[in-house]
Each structure stands twice: as structure tokens, then as C-alpha cells.
């Protein structure tokens, strides 16, 4: 069982290959560079290095967002097109869930998040139960302050994981104090091998129907809906 995992949903570009549940190779960069230019060469290089041809792939796992709309589409388009042409299953895993895997063995609520500008974040709440990661509160696009107020009310410890942690650390502390657990370093970056593992046992999506997990309408669409609602009272 050979799995190719790809994540271009945020600044990280991550590609990993798993063979029978074991990582056999990965490429990760965390730099501001164009995913569209670099994804396919990275996949090509990795497969070349481990001596695997595309026809040997059995499954593709892709981070489906939230994150950069364009980045998410680059990953999803590549994953869907490869899976369709090779006639193998594809699984989309939430980019937040993939990040939550970094705290999987921590006995607390796990809160992965991505900055979404103007005080907003893409986030969700996870915890590990029976050795499995499960969603406690739905993923959403929400004001960080509102979200922290809600987390405060739970009275529980919360592990925060985010590539944008520096931007929000102060605010998190001001609401949760010592109940906020904020690790250092690489824990805040999603790991493509975890993404591959996350998709290992998941039921495949319908290749055609797999769509990005934007968590937000296109601006024009949101405005149009508002107008329609006003019209219809």
C-alpha cells in the first residue's frame, strides 16, 4: 500500500510517501515560495529518490484546507487529477486536523489554527480519545477573541498549534493564562507524513466531488447572498 500525501494549503509545502504504514520519504519547506511551481517537481524528486513510479501508487491524501484559497486549489487539483488518471482513491483531510496531529498525545483540548486576517482565524477544537483524534467543536472562520472566550468557558487546558502562533500568543494568554499550552518550534508546522497517516484508514472521497474546505464563501458570493436576503426580507 503506497500512499502519496501532499499539503500546499498554507505556507508549508509538504510531500510524503508512505509504504505499508511506514514513512519512506518526505520533502518539507516552510518558505514563502510558489506552490504551483514547486509541488510537481517535489513529487517528482521524491518518487525518483525512493524509486517509485506513479503507477505504483495506491492512494493519494491531500490537505483540503482551510488556508490560502489558491494553495488549497493547487493541492486539490493535483491530487484529484492524479487520482482520477491513475484510477486510485483520493482522501481529503482537513488542514487543521493534519496540524492537530502534532499534539495527538497531549491530554488536553487541541486547538490548531491559521490566521485569516482582520482578527479572524480558521480553527477547530480536537481531542484524543481512545488513541484517536476527534473533533470536539466544528471548524470555523471566527474572530479569535470570540473563540478564546468560548475556550475560556470550557475551563479546560488547551494546546495551541499554529504557524501563526506569534501573532496571537499575547491574546491567547490574556484570555487563558496558564491554561494555554504553547509549545515551541516545529510542533506548529503540519507534517506531511502525519497527513498521510491521517488519511490511511479514512474512507476515500468521490474524486469528482472532493472540494476544498474553504470555511468561507467567496466575497462576491457572500455580498450577493446578503443582498438577496435583504430583498426577500
Amino acid at each position: 500500500m503506497n500512499i502519496l500525501a501532499m499539503d500546499t494549503s498554507n505556507q508549508i509545502l509538504g510531500v510524503a510517501l508512505l509504504k505499508d504504514g511506514q514513512l519512506i520519504g518526505d520533502i518539507t519547506t516552510n518558505i514563502k515560495k510558489n506552490h504551483s511551481v514547486r509541488l510537481m517537481p517535489a513529487v517528482n524528486q521524491l518518487m525518483h529518490e525512493v524509486n517509485m513510479t506513479p503507477t505504483e501508487l495506491d492512494k493519494i491524501v491531500v490537505a483540503k484546507g482551510p488556508g490560502s484559497y489558491t494553495g488549497v486549489r493547487i493541492g486539490l487539483t493535483t491530487a484529484k487529477s492524479m487520482a482520477w488518471s491513475l484510477d486510485i482513491p483520493v482522501v481529503g483531510v482537513s488542514s487543521l486536523e493534519a496540524l492537530a496531529w502534532q499534539g495527538r498525545f497531549y491530554d488536553a483540548y487541541i486547538c490548531p489554527f491559521f490566521d485569516a486576517r482582520r482578527g479572524l482565524v480558521f480553527t477547530g477544537l480536537y481531542q484524543t480519545k481512545d488513541n484517536k483524534l476527534e473533533l470536539v467543536d466544528d471548524e470555523k472562520n471566527v474572530l479569535m477573541e470570540d473563540w478564546l472566550k468560548m475556550l475560556d468557558r470550557t475551563g479546560k487546558d488547551v494546546l495551541f498549534l499554529s504557524p501563526d502562533i506569534n501573532k496571537h500568543e499575547e491574546l491567547i494568554r490574556s484570555y487563558l493564562g496558564d491554561r494555554a499550552i504553547i509549545p515551541e518550534g516545529p510542533f506548529h508546522l503540519a507534517n506531511p507524513s502525519h497527513l498521510g497517516f491521517a488519511g490511511l484508514h479514512l474512507q476515500p472521497d468521490s474524486t469528482h466531488a472532493l472540494t476544498p474546505n474553504y470555511l468561507r464563501l467567496a466575497e462576491a458570493e457572500a455580498n450577493w447572498l446578503k443582498k438577496e436576503q435583504a430583498k426577500n426580507g
Partner: protein, 341 residues
């Protein structure tokens, strides 16, 4: 040495997502359409009064594999028979182009096929090759929402820009005038329809620019239509929309035809080709046909459904690049301002 297969035919898979059509096609030898599938998003964008880039990109990623599957089904072909994957790399909306480019790269990589990036306008020109074989030198007039260009071709795959718009594209002027006349989106076909019933009673300006220039300008004409309409409204007069449309279209067509004809004479071309979405315009088609009937230079205008964006034209242009040995790498990117060369 086992079986020896003479392979003389080439099949190219084309992909086009530069604006609001998700399209795929399979073309044989650059001139025969085997399958041509276009999923239009026009109904979705109508409510916004124009194409919204983010919405277009979202539709593309939802449609792409379905469009591909339908293409192979219609062609009744398998990947084994495909020689290369051609894709529009630009110009166009960057987010929209990215879906096609990344799909094409993924397919070419997965199936280990050569990848060929194609200029969208080269595609529009090659839409004509489904009708008739090219004879060089030929002159192409490209008119669309984003383009108004005169291109001279001395051989396959070689493009020399001899004239272009200095401001608005012809199609853009159509859209803006349509908005002033409060016509529904997309405005081009609406103006064309009104013009057919109107009379050319208003003398709108024609921008000839320098005497020998093959460049175009439509912003003055557009402003003139807007001013005339507003002034009339202020005086309480009611200008007939049909007449405005007819007069506006007459001005556009006059300039396009005159410059195309002059260029055709100067370069002694053997064919004149019309391409791009505005080539679907009836007024323009008729006027061009009449003009060139008298000059003796054969005029090629693609059938209506090949004037608008499609992937068959991308596969046809891609076939030429493929035969010339041009290949794109796995780092191929969308290029919204790609230059035709």
C-alpha cells in the same frame, strides 16, 4: 524485434481554464476534433454582472475531473492513445489558469506524457485549422473580451504581433457599452442582437491613430457612447437603444475591418483568420465576409462554438508545439500576462 507499430497519428489532450469555461478536448493531428467538452460557468457569474475570479477558480476545481472524464468517454479513448497534454498557461485570470496548469501537470506526470504549455491566443488562431489548412503568410485578427490584436504568421507556431489595442479590448468596450444601455450580462451578444434591428444614425468616432499604425483604441468610442447617452437622458430625450447599438457596432467593425484589410494587403497574406469570442459577433462576421469577398483573400471565421473558449483549440495549437519539440517542465506555472511569441 517483436511487433512494429507505425504510429502516424498524434492525439493531444487539451485543457483550458483561463476564464470562466472549464474545458478539455482530444484532437487528432491538430486538425480533427475527437471530443470537445466545455462546462460553462456563465449562469453562476450572471448574478454578479461579470466574471468573479475567485468564484471562477472555485468552479474550475469542482469541474475539472468531471470534464476530463466526459472527454475521454466521448472520445472513447484511453490514456495509452494520448501523445501529450497541452494546457493554456496564459494569459487569463491567474487563479483560474492555475487549476488547468496544475491538472495538466498532474496528468502528464501520472501518465508520464509530454507536457506542452500553450498561449491562449495561439489557441484561438488554431481553432480555424479545424475548418481549413493554413496557408502562410497569414494574418489573424483576434478580438475578445481581453484582446484586440493583429498577428502575422509566417509559419506554424510563429507569431508576430503587428497591432494591438492601446487601451480597451473590443470585447471590453462591448461590455461597458452594454452596461450603459442596461443590458444583461454578457453584453456582447445583446448589442449584436439590438444592432441588427437598429439604424446607424449616430456618427460615433473611429480611432485610426497614426496613418500606418495597426494599433487599436476603443476607449474614446466607449466614452462617446456614454456621453451621448447621458446627455440625451439629461435633456429628457430618449435615444433608441437599437440605434445606439447599431452605431456603436458600426464604428467598431469599421475600424477592425479597415485595419485588417490594410495589414492583409501590406503583408501579401494568403489567408485572413478571425479568432476570439467577438468573432461570434454576427455584425462583424457579415461585414468581414463582404469586405474580403471583394479582395479575393480567403477569410476564415471559425464556427460559432469554436469562437468562444474551448480546449480543442488549445490541443490544436499544442500539437504544433509538440511536433516542433517544445516541452514544458514540471515547474510550469500559470502566467496571467504571457506574451505571444
Amino acid at each position: 524485434m517483436g511487433e512494429f507499430i507505425m504510429k502516424t497519428d498524434n492525439y493531444i489532450l487539451g485543457i483550458e481554464t483561463s476564464c470562466d469555461e472549464t474545458a478539455a478536448a482530444i484532437v487528432k493531428n491538430g486538425k480533427e476534433i475527437i471530443a470537445n467538452v466545455v462546462a460553462s460557468q456563465i449562469d453562476s457569474h450572471k448574478r454578479f454582472g461579470g466574471v468573479v475570479p475567485e468564484v471562477a477558480s472555485r468552479h474550475h476545481v469542482e469541474q475539472i475531473t468531471m470534464v476530463l472524464e466526459e472527454t475521454f468517454k466521448k472520445a472513447d479513448m484511453t490514456w495509452k492513445q494520448i501523445d501529450a497534454v497541452a494546457v493554456t498557461e496564459g494569459p487569463g485570470l491567474v487563479g483560474a489558469l492555475l487549476v488547468g496548469v496544475n491538472a495538466a501537470k498532474a496528468l502528464a506526470f501520472a501518465k508520464q506524457k509530454p507536457l506542452v504549455g500553450v498561449h491562449h491566443i495561439a489557441g484561438h488562431i488554431y481553432a480555424n485549422r479545424f475548418e481549413r489548412e493554413f496557408e502562410f503568410p497569414l494574418l489573424a485578427l483576434i478580438v475578445s473580451g481581453g484582446h484586440t490584436e493583429l498577428v502575422l504568421m509566417k509559419e506554424h507556431g510563429s507569431y508576430e504581433l503587428i497591432g494591438e489595442t492601446r487601451d480597451d479590448a473590443a470585447g471590453e468596450a462591448y461590455d461597458k457599452v452594454a452596461r450603459v444601455l442596461e443590458l444583461p450580462y454578457p453584453g456582447g451578444p445583446q448589442i449584436d442582437r439590438l444592432a441588427a434591428e437598429g439604424e446607424e444614425s449616430i456618427d460615433f468616432p473611429r480611432a485610426w491613430l497614426d496613418k500606418d499604425s495597426f494599433d487599436f483604441s476603443f476607449s474614446g468610442l466607449k466614452s462617446s457612447v456614454i456621453n451621448k447617452t447621458h446627455n440625451a437622458a439629461q435633456r429628457g430625450e430618449n435615444l433608441d437603444k437599437h440605434d445606439i447599438a447599431a452605431s456603436f457596432q458600426a464604428s467598431v467593425v469599421d475600424v477592425l475591418i479597415t485595419k485588417t484589410w490594410k495589414a492583409a494587403e501590406k503583408y501579401h497574406v494568403k489567408q485572413v483568420i478571425v479568432a476570439g469570442g467577438v468573432a461570434a459577433n454576427q455584425g462583424l462576421r457579415q461585414a468581414l465576409t463582404e469586405k474580403f469577398k471583394r479582395t479575393g483573400i480567403p477569410l476564415l471565421v471559425p464556427p460559432l462554438k469554436l469562437c468562444t473558449d474551448n480546449a480543442a483549440m488549445i490541443a490544436a495549437a499544442g500539437f504544433v508545439s509538440y511536433k516542433q519539440g517544445k516541452r514544458s517542465g514540471w515547474d510550469l506555472n500559470a502566467n496571467p500576462s504571457l506574451v505571444l511569441q
